[in-house]
């Protein structure tokens, strides 16, 4: 079984995420790391491969060249190869361009199963898998918190606004997994050492059918409305007392 896991390299949460007022896009100049949400998809891919006893897990991404450093975390976790679509013409790509580039890379790989994380950690979007599924003309299951592969079909349990659905689709299929599906493993020292030697391929926009259209624009950035009188305290051992004082002040106790 061949599994492709689509991941995004995002600015490290610890170093802070901000929009660049010049380009009005996310500032990606700081350290990049695999989006936390995507590590669940990597883990699920590895588990499925291990359960099958054979197969291959390929991580696929689009981003600047140095995103390859971030993809190495997935390789260190156990993924076999990394494919990064990187091209100056893809800078500023939105959903349309990203879906086109990933679909192009996935077409070359022809996996049985394509996995995504539940949302992007920076843009907060939860739309890419459905767009990629449309480009590839494959069935899609989103937000799966349980996944079973049996024979040539995949079944996912997923939460909606109304409770839990169970959906089955024939392979090849596209599945986005929720962050409740597993606990991603930490890369072992051996995994980290071995990651650098694993195949890491770079594709250009031309390799995946050219840059897509950009369908959206950013008109203006502005600060959020001012907060109320929010208070933030560090617990010095008296936090419980302070909360009670606060609640009493608000007549809530």
């Amino acid at each position: 079984m061949k599994i492709a896991v689509c991941v995004k390299a995002v600015p490290d949460a610890a170093s802070g995420r901000r929009l660049d007022p010049g380009t009005k896009r996310l500032d990606r100049s700081s350290e990049l790391a695999i989006s936390d949400f995507d590590t669940y998809a990597v883990e699920e891919g590895l588990k499925l491969k291990e359960a099958a006893g054979e197969g291959e897990v390929v991580v696929v991404s689009m981003g600047p060249e140095r995103a390859m450093d971030a993809l190495r975390k997935a390789l260190a976790m156990g993924a076999d190869r990394a494919v990064l679509v990187s091209d100056a013409s893809l800078e500023g790509a939105d959903l349309l361009g990203t879906a086109k580039a990933l679909a192009g890379a996935l077409e070359k790989e022809a996996p049985d199963l394509v996995l995504f994380g539940q949302q992007s950690a920076d843009g907060g979007g939860a739309v890419l898998w459905a767009a990629v599924a449309e480009k590839l003309r494959r069935p899609v299951i989103s937000q799966a918190s349980e996944l079973t592969v049996e024979g040539d079909s995949v079944t996912g349990k997923r939460q909606t606004e109304f409770g839990y659905d169970s959906i089955r689709a024939p392979l090849p299929a596209i599945v986005a997994v929720s962050d409740a599906i597993n606990t991603p493993r930490y890369p072992s020292l051996k995994g980290i050492m071995g990651a650098k030697k694993k195949p890491q391929d770079m594709l250009s926009a031309g390799d995946v059918g050219g840059a897509g259209e950009v369908g959206t624009t950013v008109v203006e950035l502005s600060p959020p409305p001012a907060r109320g009188e929010a208070r933030k305290i560090e617990d010095d051992g008296s936090a419980a007392e302070k909360i009670v004082e606060f609640l009493a002040e608000k007549r809530l106790v």
Binding site: Q159, E161, T216, L221, P224, A240, V253
Partner: protein, 316 residues
């Protein structure tokens, strides 16, 4: 004049509040607004959208599109956009709507903006990075797609009536491959959290399912109900009926105490209407502190039991 189509998602014989709010917004900015309902046995409920501002409601009433799966809906909407020349298609955020909108974007090569909280007919407003920056967004394609954030818009009943028009359903081969084995129905179990004056909610920061006892103890002391985030419900720590957020309940208690909750947007939209929000979290950078009236950086294992004890003592 913009010609706008609104995806009218329905469940259990009712159009959802979200898309009705989107209808109201689209009508307010002066667009010609129509709706589309996709399902089986849905003609009657389609007609009701007229009272909320839809001029025409297209109905794709077909057994094959009965299950709320996205890809057949992309087929229906794509055909409508082409045949009826809609330039704008608007959605209210939901698991289904996001997948339909994204599939449609790829099918029509149409720009998609999501997380919208407002729209003036030209520009949308979409706060980003956990609401730390407000972004005004636009479109550069002939067809514009937008998803509004859950709960961002309120429906307004105008009392009009809509013309209901049947739409022939033509499906792509790959659109019908996914199959609904079991469809979600609202589970009614346990006391409703929507009516509680006080809610103590637990998230992944509790560390393990057993730690919900801390939330329960504090809720009992405060005379409130216990709620949970999507992440812990999805992980099986607490029942879905207690979930607050985009795919759970929307609550507005007098007091909302968040234990070990980071404060993702999907949670925020379900509880931001609370009068007073108190958050305890060990991560000083947790987004929840951005919208808490009182944020406490500390160990909830220490603070929550002591707080319960102090509240009990105060009540005598």
């Amino acid at each position: 004049m913009a010609k706008t189509l609104v995806f009218l998602e329905h469940h259990d014989d009712a159009i959802q509040k979200g898309p009705l709010g989107v209808l109201a917004k689209a009508a307010q900015v002066g667009a010609d607004v129509d709706g589309v309902v996709v399902g089986s046995g849905v003609k009657e409920l389609a007609a009701r959208a007229g009272a909320f501002g839809a001029q025409t409601v297209h109905v794709a009433d077909d057994e094959r599109v009965a299950a709320p799966l996205p890809q057949p809906r992309v087929d229906v909407l794509a055909k409508l956009v082409r045949d009826e020349e809609y330039d704008t298609v608007l959605f209210a955020q939901s698991i289904l709507a996001a997948d339909v909108a994204a599939g449609l974007a790829a099918r029509l090569n149409a720009g998609l903006n999501w997380g919208l909280v407002d729209f003036d007919g030209e520009t949308g407003r979409a706060p980003q990075l956990q609401d730390t920056v407000v972004v005004d967004v636009g479109w550069s394609t002939p067809v514009r797609l937008g998803i509004f954030r859950a709960g961002a818009l309120d429906p307004s009943e105008t009392g009009g009536s809509a013309e209901v028009r049947d739409v022939a359903v033509e499906l792509e081969d790959f659109s019908t491959q996914a199959e609904m084995l079991e469809q979600a129905h609202a589970e009614q179990q346990g006391p409703s959290i929507e009516d509680a004056d006080v809610i103590v909610a637990g998230g992944r920061g509790l560390g393990e399912p057993e730690k919900f006892a801390l939330a329960e103890e504090l809720a009992k002391a405060l005379g409130g109900a216990v709620a949970a985030t999507r992440a812990v419900v999805d992980a099986g720590w607490y029942p879905y009926s207690a979930q607050v957020g985009q795919t759970g309940k929307t609550v507005s208690p007098k007091l909302y105490v968040a234990l070990g909750i980071s404060g993702a947007i999907q949670h925020k939209v379900g509880m931001q209407g609370s009068n007073v929000i108190v958050a305890i979290n060990k991560d000083p950078n947790a987004p929840i502190f951005e919208f808490s009236d009182l944020g406490v950086v500390g160990d909830l294992n220490q603070i929550a039991p002591k707080l319960a004890e102090l509240v009990r003592a105060r009540k005598g």
